[in-house]
């Protein structure tokens, strides 16, 4: 049986349903991400796993033990919060030592473990600083160290990086993943940032309106979106109805599904055998560093194409282009 099992979780606040029918299994040492737009219920799942919120029905099991009636402090579940939740009147050292103190570990042992854990998060030089003397990124490292030191069975991360600026966020993503691999710890991350989810996870559960819309590895989620919601949320997919797409490419498409998705980077300008082709007028171009994204008009529809920023490569706006896409890159949506 899996390490963490969530079965038939439902959560209602009054008349509104926040979570319905959530089933998840997570293996030991796995890094799993709950990804979804704000208000989709992903943080509520974390709070239920931690025991901070009660589920209306359903069960959370860790190592085959039902957690429903177990107090948060006895669950051996750690949590890192978006707003750090460091204890403001304690130094970094005291914050990190807190969990061990509660376990009545002896002082010498605490001293040593605090030093080791601060080493892991690269904060050995800030032992005696107070939280308000640290930057956001450093504070979140302290919060991480504080949660790691008690070696929880599962570490829950509730949008831990959302309040940080892009550069520090990227760096901490890498650190987080390497710490997780090094310690072999089971972690569940909640985020609304699909890039972050892709960068760190073994597996992603994409959530929408209180339900799991799709689960899979980052590659599976990205390359095989099952629904229009996923296609829109995960990438900048072009989504067409069957009729629209058949009009644009001028052939009848196989299968019976009603909607198709095409990744913007799957569309290219050199024909190869068997490709579908679409004609469009370049309308608008947005450059985001290494990627140029151009929007084309075909009939009264639009589709976008993403290309790497090559030297000498340019698309003139207002000009008509032939573009191509391989049939296997046309994804059927349910």
């Amino acid at each position: 049986m899996s390490y963490v099992v969530i079965e038939g979780l439902h959560k209602k606040y009054g008349a509104s349903t926040v979570l319905s029918n959530i089933d998840m299994t997570i293996e030991k040492g796995e890094f799993v991400t709950l990804l979804g737009p704000s208000g989709c219920g992903k943080s509520t799942i974390l709070r239920i796993i931690a025991g901070l919120t009660d589920a209306t029905s359903g069960a959370v099991k860790i190592e085959e033990k039902n957690m429903n009636n177990i107090q948060p402090k006895n669950r051996e579940v750690g949590m890192v919060f978006q707003s750090y939740a460091l204890f403001p009147n304690m130094t970094v050292k005291e914050n990190v030592a807190f969990g061990l103190k509660m376990k009545k570990v002896d002082a010498k042992e605490i001293e040593q473990q605090v030093a080791e854990t601060l080493e892991i998060v690269h904060l050995s030089d800030k032992v005696n600083a107070y939280p308000h003397e640290l930057s956001g990124g450093q504070q979140q490292r302290v919060a991480l160290a504080r949660a790691l030191i008690v070696r929880p069975k599962v570490l829950l991360l509730d949008e831990p990086l959302s309040a940080l600026d892009a550069q520090i966020r990227k760096k901490l993503q890498v650190d987080l993943r390497s710490i997780q691999m090094k310690l072999g710890m089971t972690m569940i991350l909640v985020t609304h940032d699909q890039e972050e989810a892709m960068a760190v996870s073994d597996r992603i559960f994409v959530m929408n309106k209180g339900e799991i819309a799709q689960q899979g590895t980052p590659t599976e989620i990205y390359t095989k979106p099952e629904s229009e919601f996923i296609a829109n949320f995960i990438g900048n997919y072009n989504v067409f109805t069957r009729k629209e797409l058949e009009q644009m490419v001028g052939v009848t498409l196989p299968g019976a599904c009603l909607k198709f998705a095409i990744r913007p980077e799957a569309i290219h300008f050199e024909a190869s055998v068997g490709d579908l082709h679409m004609k469009g007028i370049a309308k608008e171009s947005v450059m985001s560093g290494n990627v140029i994204r151009t929007s084309f008009e075909a009939g009264n529809r639009f589709f976008s194409v993403e290309q790497l920023h090559h030297r000498g490569y340019s698309i003139e706006l207002g000009k008509s282009y032939e573009s191509y896409v391989a049939l296997e890159d046309v994804i059927e949506l349910s």
């Binding site: 931690a50 402090k73 949590m79 939740a85 403001p88 107070y130 939280p131």
Partner: protein, 261 residues
């Protein structure tokens, strides 16, 4: 430049307007004789010395500290836990506290005094206890604001959650994490309450009067006998308030620094 000069002049005038009476009072407390000259004819510690040798003053001071301090302690003991519970676990009832806070401001002292006398004098409750009770209620706004703001600043709910997930019991989370974190704000509220009560005159004078002579009533009495002594009382009072204000500002600053985490 011209505008600047006018602004400076106005500022100077304002400072004089605010500071001069205080300065003059303080100076009068040290003046030997100050009748027909611009500045005192000489300075002396005589008045201050007399004041501190007056057993009445020392006793009045003690009574003021006892009454105000007692009211603040009782207030902290009853109001703070109630606010903790309401803010953290029953936020929908917070509006009732807010209503009670406004009510405290809405009652003029005179009406309050008359009400207290009518309600309690006939049933044998010592009036000083009635005043104490009224004091406890009247500091509700300061204690409430101080406590609630600190709880907001430190994101109390999440601190408790974090502590519990690290293995603390609810009592430990409360006593080891939350209380120390909000302590500066609580203490600032308590000091503020104390200084407000210490200066209270209307209620104590009307309801109890000279039967329980506080510093304010002592001051009232001295006004008609010696201006120098009265000035000394004011001076001592101002120094005390200055110290309290300084302490409050330091604590507030500290709790704000903490809040930036």
């Amino acid at each position: 430049m011209k505008k600047r000069g006018f602004a400076d002049l106005f500022f100077l005038f304002l400072v004089l307007y605010l500071v001069l009476p205080i300065l003059a009072t303080a100076l009068y407390a040290f003046a030997t004789n100050w009748n027909s000259t611009v500045l005192p004819e000489g300075l002396t510690f005589k008045w201050l010395g007399t004041l501190f040798q007056d057993a009445d003053f020392i006793q009045a001071f003690g009574r003021s500290v006892l009454l105000s301090g007692g009211a603040v302690l009782i207030g902290l003991l009853f109001i703070v836990p109630a606010i903790f519970v309401i803010v953290l676990y029953f936020p929908k009832y917070e509006k009732w506290i807010q209503m009670a806070v406004v009510m405290v401001y809405a009652f003029p002292g005179v009406i309050l005094a008359v009400g207290l006398i009518r309600a309690y004098s006939s049933i044998g409750v010592p009036m000083i206890l009635a005043v104490l009770g009224a004091y406890v209620v009247s500091i509700l706004p300061y204690i409430y604001q101080g406590t609630r703001n600190s709880l907001r600043n430190v994101n109390a709910r999440q601190l408790l959650d974090a502590a519990e997930l690290l293995g603390a019991s609810k009592v430990q989370a409360f006593s080891k994490v939350l209380l120390p974190a909000v302590y500066p704000g609580l203490f600032a509220g308590a000091l503020l309450s104390f200084s407000v009560l210490f200066g209270e005159f209307v209620l104590i004078n009307l309801v109890v009067g000279s039967r329980f002579e506080t510093v304010q009533i002592y001051l009232m009495k001295k006004l008609s006998t010696s201006g120098h002594i009265a000035s000394s009382v004011v001076f001592v009072y101002l120094v005390l308030m200055g110290i309290l204000t300084f302490a409050i500002s330091i604590l507030t600053k500290r709790s704000k620094g903490v809040a930036n985490t």
